[in-house]
C-alpha cells in the first residue's frame, strides 16, 4: 500500500501519492466503452454507406456521392447537436460518435452555440474552429508535405 508521510521528501510523497490515487480511482469501463464505440461508430458508417449508395443510384460519380454523403451527415450532426441530442449519444458512444465526420461537425457546432452570447464574430465565428481549426491545420499541412514530397520524389 502506498504511504505518504510528511517526513518524506516531496518527490517521494508525490510518487507514493500517485500510487495511492491509482489504487483508489475507478478504472474506466473499457470493455463497455469499446463495445458502444464499435456499435455506434459502425452504425454511423452504415448510415454513410446508405447515403453513398443512394446518391450513386441517383447517378452521381463516387467522389461526388462521397461529398454529398459528408454533407448530409454533417447536416444531421449539426441538427442533433442543436437539439441537444448529440452529447447524450456521445456519453455512451464515446469515440464512436467523436471519430466519424459527425463528431467533427459536433465539435464545431457545440462551441459556436455556447459562445453565441459573445457575438457573431468573436463568439460564433471564432469558436466554430475550436477543434476544427487544429484538425484542418494538421490535416492540410500534412497533406501539403505529402504532396511536395510526391512532387520531388515521384
Amino acid at each position: 500500500m502506498a504511504e505518504v508521510k510528511d517526513s518524506q521528501p516531496l518527490e517521494i510523497q508525490k510518487k507514493e501519492y500517485q500510487k495511492m490515487v491509482q489504487e483508489v480511482q475507478p478504472r474506466p469501463t473499457v470493455g463497455r466503452n469499446v463495445f458502444w464505440a464499435f456499435v455506434v461508430g459502425g452504425l454511423i458508417s452504415v448510415l454513410g454507406q446508405l447515403f453513398l449508395n443512394f446518391f450513386q443510384a441517383r447517378g452521381l460519380a463516387l467522389p461526388e456521392a462521397g461529398a454529398a454523403t459528408s454533407t448530409v451527415l454533417v447536416f444531421l450532426a449539426a441538427l442533433l447537436t442543436g437539439l441537444g441530442v448529440y452529447d447524450e449519444i456521445a456519453k455512451i458512444a464515446g469515440a464512436g460518435s467523436i471519430v466519424p465526420i459527425t463528431g467533427f461537425a459536433n465539435s464545431m457546432v457545440a462551441p459556436a452555440m455556447e459562445y453565441r452570447g459573445e457575438g457573431l464574430v468573436l463568439g460564433v465565428g471564432a469558436r466554430l474552429f475550436t477543434v476544427a481549426g487544429p484538425v484542418l491545420v494538421f490535416g492540410i499541412v500534412t497533406a501539403w508535405i505529402v504532396a511536395i514530397l510526391y512532387y520531388f520524389f515521384r
Binding site: V99, G103, G139
Partner: protein
Amino acid sequence: MKNMIFLKAFLVGGLLCVIAQLLMDLTSHKVTPAHVLVGFVTGGVILSALGLYQPLVNWAGAGATVPLSGFGHLLAQGAIGGVKQKGVLGAFSGGVAATAAGITAAVVFGYLAALAFRPKG
C-alpha cells in the same frame, strides 16, 4: 452478395472508433478528443500517402471514408492529384479542393445551427 458492403462498413467504421476509444481510455488525460481527431486526420493523410488507405476504402466503403481518417485520405489524394495536374501549385490547392464540400457544409450548417438553437446545458 451486394449487401456485404454494409457489413464491411460496419466492421471497419466500428474498429476505427475502437482504436480511438482505446487511445482515450488507456492513455493519460492529456489525450483529449481534439487530439484524437487531429491524430486520425494526420494518420489518414500518412496512410493514404503510403498507399495503404485506398485499399481500405475499396473494401469497406463508407466504413473507411466516414471516420475522420477518411477526411485525411481525401486531403492527401487531393493534394497529390493536384501535383499531378498542376505541379507545385497543386500541392497548395488540391487538398482543400477535394474536401471543400465537407468543410463548407460544416461551416455553413455549424453557423446556422449556432444561430437557430440555444444550448440546453
